[in-house]
């Protein structure tokens, strides 16, 4: 088991024939992911990287039975791509695209309420089940199969945490990027609930950062009771208020969304929060052995 993605997941890559799509779809295929179809409007009927290309997601569903999508479409067209994937009945949509206006995402979320699709991102590195499937842009070789679920708002910081775990011999059940934008699909709370039910996951590493209330909501969930040890790190203790730190969603203002506030709430919920980002792996190992 794993969460969100399994060995039977059949993937469609929206924007397969573009530069980003080509680059990352090739690596997804190399990793063993079943990329069964690509979608590029106007290029239906062609074959790219040995994968059949369709004009629409609905055709890819009908012809190839895909159930998950990875989106590499530019920000101007990505909101429509998400909606198209959801309306075609896909179960999981991973939107890698960065730079989507937040008002566009609000409209997308409104539409998604009418479907059963789960959205990861936008502005996410994606999701990986080590050894089985990679739906995203993370470097595959740093991962290994194991008991730790990883969920994060960041990209490279997630790779860092995964790398630390792997060096300590701790593999990952699933590593999930929820995205660095203010309005995203699945939240920490949603992913934690999935990890709670996943028998392969024995501990969870949660990587938050300044801005918004996702960590606060996670703390509330964890406080109500969670059967597995959780280790957290929240980036941005030294970030100045009112300044956007790279990610569109990483901004604190007027004392809200600060790293210190999030850390306090997580600790109040009984979660071990490490201050040292180089110590995430060690803390997870200790939590598992405790």
């Amino acid at each position: 088991m794993s969460i969100l993605v399994g060995a039977s997941t059949r993937v469609v890559v929206q924007g397969l024939t573009g530069g980003q799509g080509t680059f990352h779809a090739r690596r997804m295929l190399d990793y063993g992911t079943t990329v069964a179809a690509g979608v590029t409007p106007g290029k239906g009927g062609s074959v790219h990287l040995g994968v059949p290309v369709f004009d629409t997601v609905a055709e890819a569903v009908r012809e190839e039975g895909v159930d998950a999508s990875v989106i590499f479409v530019p920000a101007a067209h990505a909101p429509a791509a998400v909606v198209e994937a959801a309306e075609a009945g896909l179960r999981l949509i991973v939107c890698i695209t960065e730079g989507i206006p937040v008002h566009d995402m609000i409209r997308v979320r409104e539409t998604l309420r009418r479907t059963s699709a789960l959205l990861l991102g936008p502005n996410t590195p994606g999701v990986i089940v080590p050894g089985r499937a990679k739906l995203g842009i993370m470097p595959g070789p740093i991962h290994r199969t194991g008991p730790v679920g990883v969920v994060s708002r960041s990209g490279t910081l997630t790779y860092e945490a995964v790398h630390q775990l792997t060096l300590l011999g701790l593999g990952q059940s699933t590593a999930v990027g929820i995205g660095g934008d203010p309005v995203i699909g699945l939240s920490f709370v949603d992913v934690l609930a999935l990890f709670e039910k996943d028998p392969e996951t024995e501990a969870v590493v949660l990587i938050g950062e300044i801005g918004g209330t996702a960590e606060e909501e996670a703390a509330a969930l964890l406080r109500r009771g969670f059967s597995k040890p959780v280790v957290a790190y929240v980036a941005g203790l030294t970030a100045p208020p009112g300044r956007r730190m790279g990610h569109a969603g990483a901004i604190s203002s007027s004392g809200r969304g600060t790293a210190a506030g999030k850390i306090t709430l997580l600790e109040t919920a009984g979660i071990r929060v490490v201050r040292d980002p180089a110590g995430i792996g060690r803390a997870a190992a200790e939590a598992l052995n405790a």
Binding site: H103, I106, I137, S152, T213, A235, M245
Partner: protein, 391 residues
């Protein structure tokens, strides 16, 4: 992107929110002429991209055009230091000359984004003119928060609750409902992430008018809306921040002495935190991004080298999409070109790290390559200390 008060007022006025009659002036003479056209008493308001202007003397009353000219002369072309600007302040490039409003009561109305629900949050309080977070923290219950689904817009029931929360009745209540609806339209049209009228003034004549307006526009919307893009103040940020933005780098100047070059926003913040944990202070946030070029890396290093507060540089790269060798090539070029011999500590991991190591060795540059980021941070802090104060 924060925009000026006069810009925010133009945008909300276009959606139907009443604002005081006013004009923007860049010289004292133009301020006098504006006051003459407006007639009667005016206020002269410094236009800077920071709050706290009133207490800092950035908002002056003037009972005549001559006094408006004098007020503008006091404000223009000088830095205004407020609680939000930092000690250097912000230079006032223009003032807003506006008709003075006779205040019966000051109210608050604002919109923000409820990130978790993916909806708008309409905030309303009968007590305006103060910081809304302070108000909410000090007197819970004085701020009404109403979530609005953008697809449905402001429902009559929402407007009713808002007007009641403002403690308005009769004609003023009707006007408040119209303002709430207009504000929701403006919020969407201008791709705002924050839009506040504080205070919304109830005049002695029973009118409602936006005496101040504050707006933040979603940076991600700017590429798609040229009209919004034009609102950017070319003076916003430090020169280094503007140069970084032009190079496609995400850069925020901080007040420490350890320069940071990192790929990824989360790792960049974590690197700053590590520097602090090691007893040092980061000089900046810098995310070189995923699609970075060798040239942009060189420019990033150049930015740090040109900052005399920077005494050591910490490079922390976890290569995924970004190749370690590309980063090293950029750094080598910059180090050779800048003529500045800053101590550099590097931690490289991931894609093409071996090639990057060979390049470094071959370059003959005294860059220290360390195995993990904890060691890298400690070493960078030690080197900054050893170098002493600013260059």
């Amino acid at each position: 992107m924060r925009i000026h008060e006069y810009q925010a007022k133009r945008l909300i006025a276009a959606s139907g929110v009443p604002v005081p009659r006013g004009e923007v002036a860049a010289t004292p003479e133009l301020a006098r002429e504006a006051a003459e056209r407006i007639g009667g008493a005016v206020v002269v308001k410094a236009q800077i991209l920071a709050g706290g202007r009133g207490r800092a003397g950035g908002i002056l009353e003037a009972s005549s055009p001559a006094k408006a000219e004098a007020a503008a002369a006091r404000l223009l072309a000088k830095p205004l230091v407020t609680a939000q600007t930092g000690p250097e302040g912000r230079v006032v490039r223009c003032v807003l000359v506006e008709e003075a409003v006779d205040v019966e009561r000051e109210l608050y109305i604002g919109l923000t984004i409820d990130r978790s629900r993916a909806e708008y949050a309409l905030l309303v309080s009968p007590q305006g003119g103060v910081d809304i977070e302070t108000l909410a923290a000090g007197k819970p219950g004085t701020v009404l928060e109403q979530t609005i689904r953008p697809a449905a817009g402001l429902l009559p029931a929402h407007a009713e609750r808002a007007a009641a929360a403002l403690e308005l009745s009769g004609e003023a209540s009707g006007r408040a409902k119209d303002i709430a609806a207009a504000l929701v339209r403006a919020f969407e049209a201008m791709n705002a992430t924050l839009l506040e009228i504080n205070p919304l003034v109830l005049t002695r004549g029973g009118r409602l008018v936006a005496a101040d307006a504050k707006a933040e526009i979603d940076d991600n919307a700017l590429p798609f809306h040229p009209g919004l893009r034009e609102l950017r103040d070319p003076d916003e940020g430090t020169p280094a921040e503007r140069a970084a933005a032009a190079a496609g780098l995400s850069f925020v100047k901080l007040d420490g002495d350890v320069g940071c070059v990192v790929n990824g926003a989360g790792l960049a913040m974590a690197t700053m935190d590590l520097v602090a944990l090691a007893g040092g202070r980061p000089a900046n946030f810098l995310d070189i991004g995923g699609g970075v070029s060798e040239d942009a890396v060189a420019r990033a290093f150049g930015l740090l080298a040109s900052d005399t507060a920077v005494r050591s540089v910490l490079v922390n790269i976890f290569g995924g999409i970004v190749r370690c060798d590309l980063v090293v090539r950029g750094l080598i070029r910059a180090a050779h070109g800048s003529g500045v011999s800053l101590p550099v500590v590097m931690r490289l991991e991931g894609t093409n790290v071996e090639e990057a190591r060979s390049l470094l060795t071959a370059s003959g540059l005294p860059f220290a390559l360390v195995p993990d980021m904890e060691t890298a941070a400690r070493e960078a802090v030690r080197l900054a200390r050893a170098a002493g104060g600013p260059r």
